[in-house]
């Protein structure tokens, strides 16, 4: 990896030198010229204050009171750019002229904009539902490795969260609160029409726009998978009549911004002395220093694009190389994409071909390394070189304590790598039959293969101890094929009534298969995970292997009609009738309708400063299906073994119940909204109120046996409800020729998120959920300590703990006796917070001064609490004999007598359930665009420096105050937010990586 990195650095240096040469040559060839002219409105009246600049430079002027301007020292090849708030920007090439007069057209920025909606596009002014659109120039800048980071904080109501700085961990995306608890909680992703795409197979540099279909009516055209919202990604296309080569590159350094603040050797010794516990080994080790590094990443993106009347194309190649802040972590990724468009048959036929392929090779590191760096004795050495007692561990220092392992040893001895390849190819043919009527057919194939390989050394004292080496190899493959065909019509029924309609058919099948192998006992560490046959475990019959395959299908018919009367009244109706193979025989199909309308009341108001004021109301229904296939069938599977006639044979038993009634989860959503544009579009935005109810929730319920054959069944029952408010506000505060300042503000407020009911009927039995306490703090010593209470009729995410009262004079932990029965037991746990945030905002500030651009983006999340696991386990003075403590442990004493806490070995009390409100400086960037008007062959050159996650303002004592939307307890796995339990948010587990901040330097050049 390093060699590649070095050669790429060299290569980039060459490019820079080349650019400088081009720059000087261009200056030498420049010519001189003067141009004057007048700018008027369409009414003929002059426009003062219009910005006239030479494109690609800082040379410019403002028109005077009579609309006149004058510019000198222009080159023949210059192009003049005229811009004014509320008007369309115009460009006129000088090409020999000495006088250029311009008539500017009015524009309500954003309103004419065309946005992608499901199966087509729509003018923004005609939208009747809640859709947010983010274009590439509004994307978050800097160290961006995943496309969702581009819109983090930019879309009101869309929360994108990843606690800790693990470069290989995915983001948790949640739109408008929780809409399901048994199916997929993340939005559906559609990339260039390919439904169910993976954001990981697309490089952020290749994205043109990201649209988010937020409400039920917008999403319902994707009916069955739209319940958690839909993200539409449009990739960049080549433009007619151009030929461009673009290079984007950055180098980024990532540092640990915060790790758990634990005692250093001096503090540890003081505490050890006071408690009389613990062994001082005489060293002074900073375990975070030993396990972490400065993460470095570089990213290079080259694209070529262009086209003529018949053909447009864009091809790009992206290379990323990143090392994480944990030693041995990082990835290299290569991604290629080709988008091709060809017209034929008198431009009636358009064929689009898109191809993308991504390969990522990851080194995951081990989350446990940071966990153990937090709790490892700071007086212990990393290694005991030469001490024979430690030879069996390759001289790494270890102590035999419960759940306590040398973090450096973990990282240096063992390997944990992944290799993921994703691909998609698609072809679309669109044929214009007659004007306004077109038909298209679309085929897309997507695939992914993910391999994870782990090896634990023979000398490992952790996983794999005494197993003579241990390996895991896991491969998961998935593929899907999509075929869709739509017929579209757009035309005027009467002079002022426009109709656009579409109808379509969709077929998609999915296949998943994989295998896993686990075994150990190697003669040598040399093979690692590459020679499974060498593991003696397989010969001894204690290695294990497994494989699986499943498939499923979705078939749908869908249609939509949009009416536009007079550009004032808008109406839209859509329906999708969809079937899934995953459901019971009597309930395969479901209908998902929507109806929405809007009126532009500015036409009636006639208020000067209101350009546009549209009120909208919508209703839409969407669905959700289970994540697994075959859940409606009675299946038998191997359930352990059975000793029969002197040998073991497999025992088969039911593993699922038949449920022929299994059907779609249904979410209905009402959205009331206002879109506005004021003061010639200086201020624009929208406001939404939504309320959504999900019924027939898919939930894996414990059912009685008998009458059922198996003790669990996937059942449709229950209801959850959420509602909230969202605002999007864009304000061009200052618009001057050499200085602009714009603000965007996207707050959202969650009014409720309620588990209305999780009870119902199944196979003759009344299933009653009532109150359930979920999750578990875990070992050591806190098993059977539930942390979250799920309760019908109550908000989702109630955090459960004892109420901390005080540490009394004798050092006893005093907890509140909630039920007054004079004993403290499980019944005294009570609700002490909620894990889900109430209020989220994004606040962006964009400045432009001459050739400089500067942006600052803040994000705030409020109202959620987190259970701080590290404090719960280790903020206990008397565990110093086994573990290092957080610095705050020294305060765990009676204030008066100074006696340390001594009757607790770790308790989850309200003291460790903390409010985690925060405001973060997510992104700050400063860019400079060179004046390229004098440089031949160069149409843009910008250099920038950007910072990401620069600081957090929060009182939360843990590492990262970002919300935890679901709990997946603690495991070795580095990914897997899908299996996380959405009913149990708010638990900050010990597996969380340290929080990081990064600084990047980048360049963007277009030839």
């Amino acid at each position: 990896m390093r060699t590649i990195q070095n050669s790429l650095f060299l290569w980039r240096r060459c490019i820079l030198s080349l650019l400088l040469v081009v720059f000087f040559v261009s200056i030498a060839s420049a010519q001189q010229k003067k141009v004057t002219g007048k700018v008027t409105e369409s009414s003929g009246s002059p426009l003062p204050g219009v910005t006239v600049v030479v494109k690609g430079s800082t040379t410019g002027a403002l028109t005077d009171m009579d609309g006149n301007y004058s510019l000198s020292n222009l080159s023949e090849s210059a192009t003049l750019q005229f811009s004014f708030v509320g008007m369309k920007t115009m460009e006129v090439p000088v090409s020999g002229k000495t006088s250029i007069n311009v008539v500017m057209e009015e524009e309500t920025i954003g309103i004419q904009e065309v946005v992608a909606v499901g199966y087509g596009t729509q003018k923004k002014k005609e939208l009747t539902s809640s859709v947010s659109s983010v274009k590439s120039d509004e994307f978050v800048k800097g160290n961006i490795s995943n496309p969702v980071q581009l819109i983090q904080g930019k879309v009101s109501g869309l929360s994108i969260s990843k606690p800790g700085g693990n470069p290989n961990e995915g983001f948790n995306i949640r739109l408008r609160g929780l809409s399901t608890i048994g199916a997929n909680t993340g939005p559906l992703v559609v990339i260039d029409g390919a439904v169910g795409g993976s954001l990981d197979n697309i490089d952020p540099n290749d994205i043109e726009t990201i649209n988010v279909l937020k409400d039920g009516s917008a999403a319902s055209i994707y009916g069955t998978r739209g319940s958690s919202g839909v993200i539409l990604v449009t990739t960049k296309q080549g433009k007619k009549g151009t030929s461009e080569i673009e290079y984007n590159g950055y180098y980024s350094a990532e540092m640990i911004a915060k790790h758990t603040d634990v005692m250093n050797a001096t503090e540890w010794r003081a505490m050890s002395k006071e408690t009389g516990l613990g062994t001082d080994f005489g060293y002074d080790t900073d375990w975070f220093k030993e396990t972490s590094q400065t993460g470095q990443s570089q990213n290079h993106n080259i694209s070529v694009s262009g086209g003529n009347d018949k053909t447009t194309y864009r091809a790009s190649l992206n290379y990323r190389d990143a090392t994480g802040v944990m030693k041995t972590s990082g990835f290299t990724q290569l991604n290629g994409r080709v988008n091709l468009r060809q017209k034929a048959f008198n431009d009636k036929l358009t064929v689009d071909m898109n191809m993308g392929i991504t390969n990522r090779k990851s080194e995951y590191g081990f989350s446990d390394a940071f966990k153990f760096a937090t709790i490892f004795n700071p007086t212990a050495p990393v290694k005991m070189e030469g001490d024979p007692a430690y030879a069996k561990w390759d001289y790494y220092f270890n102590q035999t304590l419960f759940d306590y392992f040398n973090p450096v040893q973990i990282l240096e001895q063992n390997k944990n790598v992944g290799d993921n390849t994703m691909s998609n190819v698609s072809i679309r043919g669109t044929y214009d039959i007659v004007k306004g009527l077109s038909v298209d057919a679309f085929y897309a194939s997507q695939g992914s293969t993910a391999t994870t390989s782990r090896y634990y050394s023979k000398k490992s004292f952790w996983v794999g101890s005494n197993t003579n080496g241990m390996t895991d190899k896991i491969e998961n493959k998935s593929s899907s094929q999509l075929f869709e065909s739509t017929l579209k019509y757009n035309g005027n029924l009467m002079s002022d009534l426009n109709i656009s309609a579409l109808g379509g058919y969709s077929y998609q099948d999915f296949s998943n298969e994989g295998f896993n192998v686990h075994g150990g006992n190697f003669l040598t560490d040399a093979f690692t995970y590459n020679n499974l046959g060498a593991a003696l475990d397989f010969k001894n019959g204690i290695g294990s292997a497994g494989s699986y395959k499943n498939t499923n299908k979705l078939i749908a018919f869908f249609g939509r009609v949009n009416l536009n009367l007079n550009n004032i009244w808008f109406l839209s109706a859509s329906a999708r009738y969809e079937g899934s193979s995953k459901f019971g025989t009597s309930n395969k199909w479901g209908m998902f309708p929507s109806l929405s309308g809007a009126a532009d009341i500015s036409k009636f108001l006639n208020v000067d400063f209101i350009d546009n004021l549209k009120v909208r109301a919508s209703y839409g229904m969407t669905g959700n299906q289970p994540s697994d296939s075959y859940l409606s069938l009675l299946r038998l599977g191997p359930q352990g073994n059975f000793f029969y006639n002197g040998k073991f044979g497999p025992a088969y038993a039911p593993v699922s119940n038949a449920n022929s009634d299994l059907k779609w989860e249904k979410k209905s959503e009402i959205d009331l909204g206002v879109d506005f544009s004021l003061l010639k579009s200086k201020v624009s935005g929208s406001f939404d109120f939504y309320t959504r109810t999900t019924t027939n929730l898919l939930f894996n319920y414990e059912v009685p046996v008998p009458p059922n054959l198996f003790s669990q069944a996937l059942v449709n029952l229950g209801e959850i409800k959420s509602s909230g408010l969202e605002l999007t506000l864009n304000w061009s505060v200052i618009q001057k020729s050499d200085f602009t300042y714009g603000v965007s503000f996207t707050p959202s407020y969650n009014l409720e998120n309620t588990l209305v009911s999780l009870s119902g009927q199944y196979n003759g039995a009344d299933l009653k959920y009532g109150v359930r306490d979920l999750e578990n703090m875990g070992s050591p010593g806190q098993n059977q300590t539930p942390l979250v209470r799920a309760e019908e009729g109550k908000p989702i995410g109630q955090l459960l703990a004892f109420k901390f009262v005080e540490i009394d004079k004798n050092g006893n932990l005093i907890l509140e006796d909630i039920n007054g029965d004079k004993t403290i037991d499980a019944n005294d746990r009570t609700i002490v917070g909620n894990g889900l945030p109430k209020f989220i905002f994004g606040w962006g500030n964009d400045f432009k001064y001459k050739n400089f651009d500067f942006s600052v983006f803040f994000r705030g999340v409020f109202g959620h609490s987190l259970i701080n696991s590290f404090r719960s386990f280790y903020e206990v003075p008397n565990v110093i004999g086994s573990y290092n403590l957080p610095k705050t442990a020294k305060d765990m004493r009676n204030a008066e007598t100074g006696v340390l806490l001594n009757n607790s070995s770790g308790t989850t009390s309200s003291a460790v359930v903390e409010k985690a409100n925060f405001v973060s400086l997510d992104n700050m960037s400063l860019g400079y665009s060179f004046d390229v008007s004098q440089m031949k062959g160069l149409s843009k050159m910008r250099v920038y420096v950007a910072g990401n996650n620069l600081f957090y303002i929060t009182k939360y004592k843990g590492v990262d105050p970002n919300p935890r939307y679901g709990d997946s307890s603690e495991s070795l796995s580095t990914e897997g937010s899908f299996s996380a339990n959405p009913l149990a948010p708010g638990i900050d587990r010990r597996a969380t990586w340290s929080r990081t901040r990064s600084v990047s330097f980048g360049i963007n050049v277009i030839f």
């Binding site: 516990l277 062994t279 048959f345 035999t400 304590l401 419960f402 044929y431 038909v439 298209d440 085929y443 794999g464 101890s465 005494n466 075929f483 869709e484 065909s485 077929y507 099948d509 494989s547 699986y548 499943n550 498939t551 499923n552 078939i555 459901f583 296939s629 299946r635 038998l636 599977g637 359930q639 352990g640 059975f642 000793f643 029969y644 002197g646 044979g649 497999p650 025992a651 088969y652 038993a653 593993v655 009685p704 046996v705 003759g764 009532g770 010593g781 098993n783 059977q784 300590t785 004993t823 403290i824 037991d825 499980a826 206990v876 008397n878 004999g881 573990y883 001594n902 009757n903 308790t907």
Partner: protein, 579 residues
């Protein structure tokens, strides 16, 4: 055709072709609205039950239920609640919401997960047996299986069901009676303990005679005729507790069915029953054939050993330093008793394996194990702390041989928690720990053992005659003692091992002998209840310092509570009195 028309045709053909192409791409063999599911790696009844092996594999499901018996929730209810074993809270470890301490102190509640777990263990077994009986019956009715073939399976399944119902009737007493899968109610009501007992006896006395009398590989790991008789003997032995009416003659008769068959005998080496390779012990009447790979669930090695012992047995995983035995129980074994074992000393590891793992611990290469994490006892605690643990590091289970400052022997377990010492308590070493072992052990676990049958008969004889010198009873007990290398008893009366300061109790020595022979084999709680001393928990309970810890000596504790979730799921259930 005119050229213009041809052009129009061509124009229309293109979109049609696109659609056709798409449909072909979508899969030529698929109907465009077909949503049937195709299965690859799982089976449904429609493609199963085709061969004899597949039938037998279905029967196997009844036996896989036993996996949780030896070390799971039922074991915690039967063992943890007595003086045989406890799990003190050792600093950070083993607090777990106080549930281990509650088991020790008899202050368990209907919220405790173990109450749900043991209930599930019982009813999952019952329901699986019911389901399989129903399946086999249906197969006979449909003519797929012959009546006489099915009969043997059905009788065996009824005996398996009887076993699980015995567990339920013993632990919870009053439980719903579900005997027919097809006619099962969704919310069955609670039956009285006596009714469940009576049904059980009727059902078992009909089924057991039809079981195989073979004692060989064909019945190993399964309930045969003698397993059925031992199950009946267990029920009769405890009949007075379950119903109020004693059944000593029936106990003796059921035991005699086993003893007089001549098919079982005592192993000369007591530990032959507990070694890793103990399959086919002549004492096993019904054993669970645990295996580290094929039949997992017996993880005592994890539960009882210290982290440090990973080096003693080169284990692949780090043990949990939890379960240990109490001082009085350890001391109830004579030092000469070969069942007790010898403690390790500062100079050499233990030379004789025993029921207990005590004293200093060594690595597999013979080095003494030192505990870097040793925590000196808190000087503010009572009883007085032990001293003399050298520099605190050599690891000594139970602090064997050490003294308190006042010269009294060091406590084996200084307190129940939260600051029990890491080395507190002697550990359970009865089942051999395999060198290089996995978390799941391969030792088979005797559910019914011949020695147990001999002792059951002895107890029934003594209780019937009321004579503490009953020669027949003494002969049986002394058979057991002879093997253990300890002198014969002359009277069955004596002081109870956990109450040596108390009075001589009728059958006290028999009680102690039952404890020694069947230690950790899930018979202690039943013995304590038969002797009426299970509620004397205050006599053996350790001091606890956690707020909220209380000792409960209420007679209600002879039964466990029905877990709250079970009550919530079935409104027809009745909670046991006092909970």
């Amino acid at each position: 055709m005119k050229s213009k028309e041809r052009y129009t045709m061509k124009k229309l053909l293109i979109p049609i072709k696109i659609i056709l192409l798409g449909i072909i791409l979508a899969g030529s063999n698929q109907s465009c609205t077909n949503l049937d599911e195709e299965l690859y790696s799982s089976v449904t009844p429609s493609n199963f039950f085709k061969t004899e092996e597949e039938f037998i594999s279905a029967l196997g499901a009844a036996y896989t239920q036993f996996g949780g018996y030896a070390a799971g929730d039922p074991a915690q209810l039967q063992v943890m609640t007595t003086d045989e074993m406890t799990a003190p809270t050792r600093g950070q470890d083993w607090d777990d919401g106080g549930n281990w301490r509650r088991l020790h102190l008899h202050s368990w509640t209907k919220e405790d997960g173990v109450m749900s777990g043991a209930w599930n263990f019982g009813f999952n077994g019952v329901n699986t047996a019911n389901r399989l009986i129903y399946q086999f019956t249906s197969l006979v009715e449909s003519g797929q299986v012959k009546q006489e073939v099915a009969d043997a399976y059905i009788s065996e399944l009824k005996t398996v069901r009887g076993f699980f119902y015995w567990q339920l009737v013993d632990e919870y007493g009053n439980v719903p009676l579900v005997t027919d899968f097809a006619k099962a109610e969704a919310t069955p009501k609670t039956e009285t303990r006596a009714n469940v007992y009576n049904w059980l006896i009727t059902d078992l006395t009909a089924a057991v005679p039809k079981l195989s009398k073979a004692v060989d590989g064909t019945t190993y790991g399964r309930l045969n005729y003698y397993g059925g008789q031992t199950l009946l003997a267990k029920l009769y032995l405890n009949a007075k507790v379950y119903t109020g009416t004693a059944q000593w003659d029936k106990t003796i008769a059921a035991c005699d069915e086993v003893i007089n068959s001549g098919k079982y005998s005592l192993e000369s080496n007591f530990f032959a029953n507990f070694n890793v390779n103990n399959s086919g012990s002549k004492e096993f009447i019904f054993a669970i054939p645990y295996d580290k790979v094929f039949f997992t669930g017996f993880n005592l090695v994890m539960q009882t050993l210290s982290y440090l012992n990973q080096a003693t047995y080169n284990l692949s995983a780090q043990p949990w330093n939890g379960f240990c035995s109490l001082e009085e129980f350890y001391n109830s074994f004579d030092n000469a008793d070969i069942r007790k074992g010898e403690p390790g000393t500062l100079t050499k590891p233990a030379t004789k394996r025993g029921t207990f793992l005590a004293g200093y611990q060594y690595s597999s290469s013979g080095e003494i194990l030192k505990d870097d994490g040793f925590e000196a006892p808190n000087l503010n605690r009572k009883p007085a702390p032990l001293i003399g643990d050298l520099d605190g590091k050599p690891f000594n289970f139970g602090s064997i041989g050490l003294k308190n400052p006042d010269g009294t022997p060091a406590p084996q377990i200084n307190e129940l928690g939260p600051q029990a010492l890491r080395q507190a308590g002697v550990r359970i070493g009865k089942w051999e720990f395999e060198m290089g072992g996995l978390p799941d052990m391969s030792n088979d676990y005797a559910v019914f053992r011949y020695a147990d049958v001999l002792l059951m008969k002895a107890e029934a004889l003594w209780r019937k005659s009321g004579n503490d010198k009953d020669p027949a009873a003494l002969a049986l007990v002394n058979q057991i003692r002879a093997r253990a290398g300890v002198p014969a008893l002359t009277s069955l009366d004596g002081k109870l091992s956990f109450d040596l300061a108390g009075a001589v109790v009728p059958g006290g020595e028999l009680f102690n002998e039952l404890g020694r022979e069947l230690a950790i084999e899930k018979s202690r709680r039943q013995s304590m209840i038969r002797w009426g001393v299970f509620t004397s928990v205050n006599k053996w309970a350790l001091p606890a310092y956690n707020p909220g810890d209380v000792i409960v000596t209420d007679p209600k504790t002879n039964l466990f509570p029905v877990h709250k979730d079970k009550l919530a799921a079935n409104p027809n259930l009745t909670q046991n009195p006092g909970y």
